[in-house]
């Protein structure tokens, strides 16, 4: 079905100034709450980019700053410093009135407690954003509202008051309302937090369908299992974003350790085909691929180079010699197809992290074991 809009809001979403095709860009974002008891930093140096069509889950412990992060993004709250670009619009510069109008057209917000207006029917709740934003003709609004309620499977409850619906039905209605003005982005804060697991699953399926239809979804949740089903997970701890590649590499680590590690990571880049580790050299660093691919070669005594493994973003290397001691057991170089970027720890930090986390030690030992077997197998070929 084609809806006639009074403005083509998709035009608002443009590539960011840095040329990347990121829909949402958060730069060096800080949020400090000033209270009588003193300043409380809720977000610190947050940098985040989200591409169009991504389904990003934001997870973190209670009080970690995930709701603050989404509030910054939706313009519900203002950052203390830093910049937020959404579709090229510097929303941190918008005043409350401009923000409300912009948000109404470009961002659907779904709250944990549904937040439907209690004195309006479900149908009217879906109609009201179109009314506020002057979107569509009145007839189209009615048609669209019913269509959205059908989409979320509660059309038969359209003319009931929210209080007569179950939690799951209310959340579906809230999602329909968020979609009313056909915004490209949906931001949702704990959308399943107040629902049973079955209903939560249905709501999540709905989000996945919306992503397939081209929406970009940012979902705050405390449910790790649900978060894993999103296309991307952003972890936030103590107001700071955990490095996603590190988190992917060591998902079982506590968020605090992830954050600790994030702070020690050193980004490095290599040209296509450039060696990163030379076999036999001294082991001084641990690497996690953040962009591109690296290739692991074994130089056999017969001088033949054997490709042992290819590693992509979120995969690590350089741990064997660091754990076992001795020289590097293989060579690692950037793929010849493209330059690569890696995140590295020095030996001291790596050892310290392993000392702090038995889970990481176990993970590394398991990896060393598997990779040792791979190398032995390659050496025999």
């Amino acid at each position: 079905m084609v809806w006639r809009k009074k403005k083509n809001i998709s035009e608002n979403i443009e590539p960011t100034q840095n040329g990347k095709n990121s829909l949402i860009v958060l730069k060096d974002l800080d949020k400090v709450y000033h209270t009588d008891a003193g300043d409380f930093p809720a977000l610190l140096n947050v940098d985040l980019e989200i591409g169009s069509g991504e389904f990003v889950s934001v997870i973190g412990k209670s009080g970690s700053g995930k709701t603050t992060l989404i509030n910054m993004l939706t313009g519900i709250d203002q950052p203390s410093s830093g910049e937020i670009f959404v579709g090229g619009v510097a929303i941190h510069n918008l005043n409350e009135g401009e923000m409300a109008a912009w948000r109404g057209r470009n961002m659907g917000v779904v709250f944990q407690f549904f937040q439907l207006l209690p004195t309006l029917s479900v149908f009217q709740n879906v109609m009201i954003p179109m009314d506020f934003c002057n979107m569509f003709t009145p007839a189209e609004r009615r048609e669209r509202a019913m269509h959205l309620l059908e989409l979320v499977d509660i059309a038969e409850h359209a003319h009931k008051l929210p209080s007569r619906l179950s939690g799951g039905q209310q959340q579906r209605a809230a999602i329909a309302r968020a979609l009313a003005n056909d915004p490209p982005i949906i931001c949702t804060d704990e959308p399943t937090g107040n629902l049973d697991s079955k209903t939560a699953g249905q709501i999540f399926d709905l989000f996945q369908q919306l992503v397939k239809d081209g929406k970009t979804i940012l979902m705050v949740t405390h449910d790790d299992d649900l978060a894993k089903q999103a296309s991307r997970t952003v972890i936030i701890a103590d107001g700071e974003i955990v490095n996603e590649y590190f988190a992917n590499a060591f998902p079982t680590l506590s968020h605090e350790l992830m954050l600790k590690a994030t702070k020690k990571l050193l980004p490095m880049s290599y040209a296509a085909g450039e060696p990163i580790i030379l076999q036999g050299s001294e082991a001084d660093r641990f690497y996690i691929v953040s962009k591109g691919e690296v290739e692991v070669y074994l130089n056999r005594p017969d001088a033949q180079e054997v490709l042992v493994d290819t590693l992509g973003p979120g995969q690590y290397f350089g741990e064997i010699a660091l754990l076992n001691g001795g020289a590097r057991s293989a060579m690692v170089r950037a793929s010849i197809n493209s330059p690569i970027e890696v995140l590295t720890f020095d030996k001291k930090d790596f050892t310290e992290l392993l000392g702090d986390s038995s889970e990481m030690m176990e993970e590394i030992k398991r990896s060393v074991n598997i990779r040792g077997q791979k190398l032995a197998k390659a050496a025999k070929k």
Binding site: Q78, G97, A100, R105, V109, L117, L120, I128, P138
Partner: protein, 800 residues
């Protein structure tokens, strides 16, 4: 019709909160309706009363004389400053009813069909009765159920009874009506009067002065000129020259000052009502916005700009205003009709049509539309300015800012139980809201106390008046009765232990420039009278042997600017008499009076020891109770009638008091009603405030619940806060009720008597209000306290 969702939301909100919506609509309707009622009533009264009054060519001045014939009026009509003159005969008789007698005054004109001045309006039947016929005044006819065709049994002063047929009902707006004076006016033909045995003559001149006929001094000057140049040279004696009415100016309705004063007081009350109504609107709108802060945040989060949200709530007020306006119209319609009917019944005029004047409709529309929106704009702007973040996440959490005074207060209250401390602290958490509630309650309280003080002042005035009416019963006696006869007859009445004969005559004060000034009543009485207990402000009372020494009241001093010891010159029966002022009594609510020893009075008036009035006492020590007074008055009347000494009514002191206090009672009833309304508005305001407070503190209540607060404790926290607010308002009442009471009592007394009299503050009123306001505090807090008790911990703390 496709109504936008946002407007549907507002309509649903209004419908969904019926009690609150009705409260706001009623507030607007009552405030605007009261303004409409009073002003529309005023306009109806002005239209009908004053137009009907003016239509009959009201007399500028009335001259009471000895008998005269028609040729005198013709002569006066030729006076260059006279527009019209009407000679009238006033004769007093009584109507006999099966169980009572009522005074009837015959009014006889030269030619009833060609009345020129004070023309009565025909209502029903004949307005020009023929021989043995009478036309009765409308109000008395209604009250006494006199109908056309009835035969009235009339008792003359000589005891003879004759019968007159009622042939018409007329409306005489110029005489003080039956409802006030208790006297019937009836029009008869001069032939009927002659048939009854009276001589044919006139004794009153109703004169309309040309030009400047509203100028009291000018009118009196012309009247004096008529007296000196026409009346007295013709041999007719002038008894008195009076401007008709109760301190009214010439050409004005006899109660115009009182009506204007009363309406002014009502208008002030209406301003207060609209002020309180506006305040209640603010309070309720604040409550609505407080309740909807989160919804405002949600709407903002889905695209509503502040202008749109503001527009929604202005639309909300608009609906309230519209409903309030529509409801105010019947209030003002029926209210003004009731007020006008009340006035018409009291003042004896006809209501020509009921309805709301277009100008009043416009005023009500403007008030209903502008005031609520105007006063609600601030809370609306404050409500929509709140950030989306605060609206969504901070709602329900009242964050205390840095308030060092609060910490100090907490320290000082540390001896109290924590729930009580919480109540006291809660009272001061929202100062603007507290201020409004206090203003409302304080105004209501001050009005209440002022009403009581007005009543107290009037009582004090009546007690003061009582000093000059220090007798049980009195009766007017016929002109030929001697003092000796009158006192003897009165003394023979069983129970009477003392009787005095008094006499009075009207004189003219001669100014220092030798001009004639105001009229003065010269009263001759025994120097050792016990029928009066004068309160002397200066000098002494009369002594035995005083001749030209007189005592005067403060009214005379104010009129003449004379002082104790000065010489007072009064023209008495065309002779200038010089008196020496030896004493000054307090103000009375009457005109200037000169008290003189009866013997000297008799000598200078040449009245041959005759008296006008007899006063009696049944106990030398004190005034008797009402029953004894009434019985004595009846005995006095019976004996004097039988002895042919009087045709008047015996009057008890209580009856005289009633005449003075009755108009006040009506005013006081209205004031008490208004004060009660204000108290209701005040309690609604307090209930609203407590409701908002509870709403704002739901989380706090949840916390109290979670740490074990019982239902009683929760109720206590809320109710004690209500009582604390009530008591604080009472303390403000203590401060302002003094001046407010003095102002109101002064205004009411001045409105009726055109003079400032004794003020007495009512401590009973003040402490009664303390009791009432504490009860209001408790009752107003009970519903919010009940709501607080019903909140569960889960509801309050699990939310979000």
């Amino acid at each position: 019709m496709d109504l936008g969702s946002r407007w549907v939301k507002i309509l649903n909100d209004i419908w969904g909160n019926k009690t609150r919506s009705i409260l706001v609509i009623l507030s607007i309707a009552v405030g605007v309706g009261v303004v409409g009622m009073i002003n529309n009533g005023r306009m109806m009264i002005e239209r009908d009363l004053y137009s009907q009054f003016a239509a009959g060519n009201p007399a500028s001045v009335q001259i009471y004389t000895s008998p005269f014939q028609k040729d005198l009026t013709n002569a006066i009509e030729d006076h260059p400053n006279v527009e019209a003159v009407e000679g009238r005969r006033m004769a007093g008789v009584q109507i006999l009813f099966p169980d009572e007698k009522v005074d009837l005054t015959f009014v006889v004109s030269e030619d009833q069909e060609k009345n020129k001045v004070n023309i009565p309006a025909p209502i029903e039947g004949k307005s020009t009765p023929g021989l043995r016929e009478i036309a009765v005044e409308l109000q008395a006819a209604d009250a006494l159920e006199i109908n056309i065709g009835d035969e009235l049994q009339i008792e003359k002063s000589d005891g003879k009874i004759i019968s007159l047929t009622v042939v018409g009902i007329i409306n005489d707006i110029y005489e003080i009506p039956y409802a006030i004076r208790g006297e019937v006016f009836g029009i008869v033909d001069m032939r009927t009067l002659q048939w009854m045995g009276y001589q044919a003559y006139f004794n009153r001149l109703d004169v309309v002065i040309q030009d400047h006929n509203n100028d009291r001094d000018y009118v009196l000057d012309i009247a004096a000129d008529i007296r000196d140049r026409i009346i007295q040279p013709s041999g007719v004696v002038v008894g008195s020259i009076q401007i008709p009415g109760l301190q009214a100016d010439p050409g004005e309705h006899w109660a115009q000052n009182q009506i204007s004063g009363f309406i002014l007081i009502l208008q002030l009350m209406s301003v207060m009502a609209i002020f309180l109504s506006a305040g209640l609107v603010v309070n309720t709108i604040t409550a609505i916005l407080t309740n909807q802060v989160k919804q405002i945040g949600i709407m903002r989060s889905i695209g509503a700009v502040p202008r749109q949200v503001g527009g929604m709530y202005i639309f909300n007020i608009f609906i309230f205003s519209l409903a309030g306006l529509l409801l105010s119209i019947p209030i003002s319609w029926f209210g003004s009709l009731y007020l006008t009917r009340f006035a018409a019944g009291f003042l004896n005029f006809k209501i020509t049509s009921a309805g709301i004047f277009p100008s009043m409709l416009i005023l009500q529309t403007v008030l209903a539309m502008i005031i609520p929106i105007g006063v609600a704009l601030w809370p609306i702007l404050a409500g929509i300015r709140i950030s989306v973040f605060n609206a969504i996440y901070q709602n329900g959490l009242v964050q205390e800012g840095q308030k060092p005074w609060l910490e100090k207060l907490l320290l000082r209250l540390s001896f109290l139980k924590p729930p009580v401390v919480l109540s006291v602290i809660n009272t001061f958490r929202n100062i603007p809201r507290l201020a409004f509630t206090l203003i409302t309650l304080t105004l209501a309280g001050a009005t209440f106390v002022a009403t009581f003080s007005t009543r107290s002042s009037l009582n004090a005035q009546v007690v003061e008046l009582g000093r000059y009416l220090n007798y049980d019963a009195a009766i007017s006696v016929s002109s030929h009765v001697s003092k000796f006869t009158a006192v003897r007859e009165a003394s023979r009445i069983p129970g009477v232990v003392a009787a005095e004969g008094w006499a009075s005559v009207i004189g003219l004060i001669q100014t220092s420039r030798g001009e004639e000034g105001a009229e003065v009543e010269i009263t001759g009485l025994p120097f050792d009278t016990i029928m009066m207990d004068p309160k002397l402000e200066e000098g002494r009372w009369l002594n035995d042997g005083d001749n030209w020494q007189v005592v005067v009241n403060r009214d005379l001093i104010q009129e003449t600017n004379l002082s104790l010891g000065d010489e007072l010159v009064v023209k008495l029966l065309n002779v200038d008499r010089k008196f020496k002022i030896v004493g000054i009594t307090t103000k009375t609510i009457r005109a200037p009076i000169v008290y003189i020893n009866y013997a000297m009075f008799s000598k200078i008036t040449g009245n041959n020891d005759q008296v006008n009035q007899v006063r009696v006492r049944t106990d030398l020590e004190k005034i008797a109770d009402v029953e004894t007074q009434t019985a004595t008055a009846l005995l006095l009347e019976d004996r004097f009638h039988k002895a042919g000494l009087s045709n008047g009514l015996g009057q008890s002191q209580f009856q005289i008091f009633g005449f003075f206090s009755e108009p006040f009672d009506i005013i006081l009833v209205v004031l008490v009603i208004m004060a009660s309304l204000l108290a209701v508005v005040g309690s609604l305001s307090l209930a609203g405030t407590m409701g908002i407070n509870v709403m704002e503190r739901t989380r706090e209540i949840g916390v109290l619940r979670s740490v074990g607060a019982s239902n009683l404790s929760i109720r206590q926290v809320v109710v004690v806060e209500g009582v604390v607010i009530a008591v604080i308002s009472w303390l403000f009442v203590v401060v302002i009720s003094g001046p407010a009471s003095a102002a109101m009592a002064g205004a009411v007394i001045f409105a009726v008597f055109k003079t400032a009299l004794t003020f007495q503050f009512s401590y009973i009123g003040l402490f009664l209000w303390l009791l009432i306001v504490v009860v209001i505090g408790i009752i107003s807090s009970l519903a919010p306290a009940g709501k607080a008790v019903r909140l569960t911990v889960r509801e309050v703390l699990d939310y979000e």
